[in-house]
């Protein structure tokens, strides 16, 4: 029967006027002509960014001890957004003293319920100012407004809400144990999710009764300074949260300050190793959340179109500036060709451009330095003999932009497969058996996150248990929730943030 009908279909095809035929021989889909989206930029008129910012110490913006400043650049326009103080060890010392005083006199004395009230209040103010914060995040860091609006800021508020809830329940957090705060915490955060990383650090610290000195990254300090204003608005007691701005040296002054009880760092593995060395022999607690080279494993029984979407989300979210990015795609050989074809089609629909445009999918690379670094890796990839695919669409002339990039014909021995690029660059390898997929996935010094795509539930559990990563997502990628712990194996870090696990580094456990 089927054969007969096949005949019919074919016959119909022979009459071109009746049955439509393809307009072009190579079956290319055209995503870029005819109906283009008009520019839809989010207005930034009402956003208030000061010309210059001092450190936020003891509840006030405080001029730095030495008159050294740095500039924060909008990576999409290369224009200066603001100047901010470069913290010295004197500034850090001042902040630590303020934090210690606040810890001893007020914050550790407050009941959990009272602390919770402040944290809830901060969470609500973040929600109220969500639009402004999202726009600033996109201006300062280059990320698309769609992401800062829908991911960064709502999640930041969610982390504060979540940990506010723990503040008066600490006695029930660790069964059989009482808790006490650790003391003064030094926290250093990266530039990829500025306000969100701040919330991962500050929310559990405050809930547990600690006071903090936080240093935002030197390329994205503005939302942290805006957060300082929020702390004042929330009436948070002076000195509980201190923000000291600056670069590596300022960070080093925090790490090495003798009166800090705990260090929390999120950033590169390279810096993480330096921090761990300087902390050796001290009794400071620490958590490190470092780099990654996430394997994203697609089996041939996966739902291919949705896997493609997940791959896109895994590597092109936030221009690939994501420590848990799925930057290594591992595809089972049987579907590799089909999947790569679909992936290229999907990449062609990504809109690269103005981070403030609501239709932008991939914004600006965070800084000039990072832009150069990514370009270097593209050269390395090509010189290693990999095949590079970049999308056809245009990128703005001004600003630091990088087209979404795919490397095929690569193996484990390639540097672009081994090293963290931290940009919109995906490498594709194939595998034959689950065993081989796991072996390739684990053949890396990193172990932060990975993904598995299959329609078969049992395979998800079997394979994910063997992948040495802090997080393994199944049939999705880059999903975050305040209740879920996050952190790395191996050189991806020590300790967990988020959830109950994220509370643990901020408390000392006592017998009840």
């Amino acid at each position: 029967m089927a054969d007969q009908t096949q005949q019919n279909t074919a016959e119909i095809k022979d009459e071109p006027s009746k049955k439509p035929t393809s307009p072009n021989a190579d079956l290319k889909l055209d995503f870029n002509s005819f109906w283009e989206y008009s520019a839809a930029p989010e207005s930034s008129d009402f956003v208030e960014i000061r010309k210059s910012y001092d450190h936020y110490i003891n509840g006030n913006f405080t001029a730095p001890e030495k008159d050294r400043t740095m500039k924060s650049i909008n990576p999409a326009t290369e224009e200066v957004l603001t100047e901010f103080a470069e913290g010295t060890s004197e500034d850090v010392d001042k902040a630590v003293k303020a934090a210690r005083k606040a810890y001893n006199k007020t914050w550790s004395k407050l009941s959990g319920r009272e602390r919770g009230k402040y944290i809830y209040r901060i969470a609500r103010i973040i929600q109220e100012k969500a639009r402004e914060l999202a726009i600033i995040e996109s201006m300062d860091g280059g990320k698309p407004i769609r992401e800062s609006r829908d991911v960064d800021i709502p999640l930041a508020a969610a982390y504060f809400f979540y940990y506010a809830g723990w503040a008066d329940k600490l006695d029930y957090a660790f069964p059989g144990r009482k808790t006490e705060p650790v003391g003064v915490c030094g926290q250093i955060i990266p530039w990829n999710f500025p306000l969100l990383m701040l919330s991962w650090k500050i929310a559990p610290a405050l809930a547990a009764g600690n006071t903090v000195i936080l240093k935002p990254a030197e390329s994205t300090p503005i939302t942290a300074l805006k957060f300082a204003e929020i702390c004042s608005e929330a009436g948070l007691p002076d000195g509980v949260v201190n923000i000291v701005t600056g670069a590596g040296q300022t960070g080093s002054a925090i790490v090495n300050h003798p009166d800090i009880d705990k260090i929390a760092f999120t950033g590169s593995t390279e810096v993480g190793k330096i921090i761990q060395k300087s902390l050796a022999g001290t009794d400071k607690k620490f958590t490190l959340e470092l780099g990654g080279k996430g394997p994203n494993i697609v089996f041939e029984d996966a739902s291919v179109d949705q896997a493609v979407e997940g791959i896109i989300n895994a590597i092109f979210f936030n221009q690939g500036h994501v420590c848990c990015a799925g930057s290594r795609l591992l595809v089972q050989e049987g579907i590799a060709e089909r999947l790569i074809g679909k992936l290229k089609d999907r990449m062609e629909t990504l809109i690269v451009g103005d981070p403030l445009d609501k239709n932008t999918d991939v914004g600006a690379i965070n800084s000039k330095a990072q832009h150069e670094r990514i370009k270097e890796y593209l050269d390395i990839g090509v010189s290693e003999g990999a095949t590079m695919f970049q999308t056809n669409g245009s990128v703005p002339e001004k600003g630091y932009f990088c087209k979404p990039t795919l490397f095929t014909d690569v193996g484990q021995s390639n540097r672009i497969v081994q090293e963290e690029i931290f940009g919109p660059v995906l490498t594709v390898q194939t595998f034959r058996t689950p065993e081989e997929a796991v072996q390739k996935a684990n053949n890396t010094p990193y172990g932060l996150a990975g993904g598995i795509w299959t329609d078969k539930g049992s395979k998800i559990f079997k394979v994910s248990q063997k992948v040495r990563s802090g997080v393994v997502w199944a049939n999705t990628y880059n999903k975050f929730d305040p209740t879920s712990p996050f952190g790395g194996y191996k050189e991806s870090g020590v300790g967990r943030e988020g959830g109950l696990h994220g509370l643990y580094p901020y408390v000392n456990l006592l017998p009840s």
């Binding site: 029967m1 089927a2 007969q4 009908t5 096949q6 019919n8 279909t9 074919a10 016959e11 119909i12 095809k13 022979d14 009746k18 049955k19 439509p20 035929t21 393809s22 307009p23 079956l27 889909l29 055209d30 995503f31 870029n32 002509s33 005819f34 109906w35 283009e36 989206y37 008009s38 520019a39 839809a40 769609r146 829908d150 029984d301 996966a302 739902s303 179109d305 949705q306 896997a307 979407e309 997940g310 074809g341 089609d345 629909t349 609501k358 239709n359 329609d455 049939n475 999705t476």
Partner: protein
Amino acid sequence: MNTITIPDFNQTIPIDKIGVEERVSRLNKRSIKKESKMQALKLALSMIDLTTLEGKDSEGKVIQMCRKARVPHASRPDLPSVAAVCVYPTMVATAKKALEGTNINVASVSTAFPSGMAPRQVKLDDTRFAVDQGADEIDMVISRGEFLKGNYNYIFDEIAEIKEACGDAHLKVILETGELETYENVRKASDIAMYAGADFIKTSTGKISPAATQPVTLVMLEAIRDFYRDTGIMVGMKPAGGIRKAKQSLQYLVLVKETLGAAWLTPEWYRFGASSLTNDLLMQIIKQDTGVYQNPDYFSED
């Protein structure tokens, strides 16, 4: 003669429900403003299959609807007319006459629409009657009961035979996705319809809830894309039922643009089965031009 390998329809192509719905919600975030909005509103208007499918349909009703199809808004003769009118077989001749001298097609539902619960011969006769009456397009329904029984060959043969009965008329195959329930079924039914010779695949009759939804449409568009890649044949898409607002129609167009690309963004390859959508599109077009919304009474309801 090119041969096409027909896949084994007993094999199910996995579709991840959550993934499909997330993709749709991401596409819904596209901001369509200014010129792109105007362009899309006019495009959507030109893609409408203006529909009346009621037991109480009469010649008078159909003739009046055809007037609306020709000139959707009398004060704006520059606006495009709709793509087609869609009626029952007994109304085809009336519609054909009312639309004489225009490019507007007459589409007729057939095959014992909407349930399809009739013997094959009746469905073939129904189709031939509509074609004889002058229908340019046939909207058939598949036998959902046979499909859900797993009788895929039955569906394939049914579609292929109706296609043959259509002659020169274009065949749209209504899957009635609301009764198929899962995205995997929608995908499978789409594949069967396309391999059996459908020119268009269509979501719904409009008589069952849910009718067209965006996730279902996305799954069908992805099936069309795969079919195009595998065979080189373009197949059109028609979501029908439940699309009442201009904003929804723009969201559907975004789905098409970013899944299949520009080639499908014409009335030849994409249609909306709708009736009340027309006036909302007109209202939005006038609003874009004048800056204010007009009273609904200024828009004709035929």
